[in-house]
């Protein structure tokens, strides 16, 4: 049986999922065709919000890692783990959609472009964080080690964000947050901006849900250990 809190959370999740679908539909059917790329550009309505959400997860990981390091509370550590998992999912979506877009545009599924490489590095770091978490014994030592790693990972994000400006490679330069304003059609621009906001909210919802699961998992493990003893 769902209690009132679970029901509320479920409704919020459904609402956010509907908003994601609406934003995709606007991007797919209402936004104009790109003069240069044709229909293939429409993948940006998923790709760009996913990329921003992956960065946002790194920012959340940074904040919760500092809180975990300061207070040593389990709940912050659980938030960190949930954030890394969600961050890894969105980084994988970014890489996957980028690859799908790259095939017709650049002629290859993958190239060692600066933005692609640095985004792949972020995915590896998220995976590394989760691997470190699972390979350390529970306790204050794990909380501290993972929190420190979380802080280090966030130092990599500015490099990924700036990579297209620093290295002039295949990936196009920033077309939204740039000097002189965005270079996109207003409908495309606002659909992408809305997509970023919606997906970030959706990721927060996912993180909170996953954190609750991790807390329950930890509680069950502790109780089963106590019963064995």
């Amino acid at each position: 049986m769902l209690d009132a809190k679970d029901k509320k959370s479920l409704y919020i999740g459904i609402l956010l999922a509907i908003l994601v679908l609406v934003q995709w539909s606007v991007g797919m059917f209402l936004a104009p065709v790109d003069a240069m790329q044709g229909q293939v550009y429409r993948i940006i309505f998923l790709h760009v919000p996913a990329a921003f959400t992956a960065f946002f997860s790194a920012f959340m990981l940074f904040i919760y890692s500092i809180l975990a390091l300061k207070s040593k509370k389990d709940s912050y550590q659980q938030m960190c783990k949930a954030t890394a998992e969600v961050g890894l999912i969105f980084t994988a979506i970014t890489l996957l959609t980028g690859s799908i877009w790259g095939r017709p545009t650049w002629g290859v599924w993958w190239t060692w472009d600066a933005r692609l490489t640095t985004t792949l590095l972020l995915a590896i770091l998220y995976a590394g964080y989760l691997l470190l978490y699972s390979s350390l014994e529970p306790g204050p030592g794990r909380t501290k080690a993972c929190a420190i790693l979380g802080i280090l990972i966030s130092a990599d994000v500015p490099v990924i964000y700036q990579s297209v400006n620093w290295w002039r490679t295949l990936h196009q330069p920033q077309s939204m947050l740039r000097k002189g304003g965005a270079t996109m059609d207003p409908l495309i621009l606002w659909t992408v901006v809305a997509g970023i906001l919606i997906l970030i909210l959706f990721s927060i919802w996912l993180i909170v849900q996953r954190k609750t699961n991790i807390a329950l998992q930890d509680e069950l493990e502790t109780k089963s250990f106590q019963q064995i003893k």
Binding site: T117, L132, L136, E137, L152, D156
Partner: protein
Amino acid sequence: MKTPNAFAQFRILLANGIKSELSDLERLISPLLFALTILILFAFAVGEVEPDMRIKLFVAEVFLTTFLALQISFSRVFEPARTDKVFDLLRTYPVSYNAWFLAKYVLVVMLGLSVALPTIFIGAIMNGKALANVSIWGIIPVTVLAVAGLSALGVLLAAITMKAQSRQILYPLLYFPMTAPVLLSAIQVSVTYLEKGIFNSDSKAWFLLLASFDVIYVTLGVLLFSELVDDSQ
């Protein structure tokens, strides 16, 4: 007995580290042999190339050798501490954690430079034709900065992963991606300098990025190492 101050502790810990590194001749000449091996392997693998490509290869040789040598140094500085439980024992003493980190850090920097500097000079002799018009001394400060950044990050990560079960997989998985800003900026500055013979505005920007990441990693290392080893918290 009076506890020595943090600087004295740093000196003692560093001196002990150096002493154990210099304990046998093998350890002394191994960096030189390592550098030579990489340079010869590169020369065999690549063969004859254009002079401008030779400059890029020379830079790749220098930083790849340094990078790999540092991997050995990281495992060396923490391996005895891990296997002989010195790490756990040492943190029960009133040791300054900053002094402890800095001693490990300076030792790794020294080990890294003991490989990087011979590589630069031997590599310069081996690639003499391509580097004839440029002073090789210009890339030494870049190498020192690169080693400084890579070492701070490495020491901190080695301490983080010391007790992890899958340490051998985990360490490269975490270390390699995080070194990207330091390695890339060091390579960019070096290539630009060796091609043009001067530090232009482009290479100054890269130099700034390299120095910034050095500051970030050393500061984080000093701040976070104490958090990691302090058992009282």
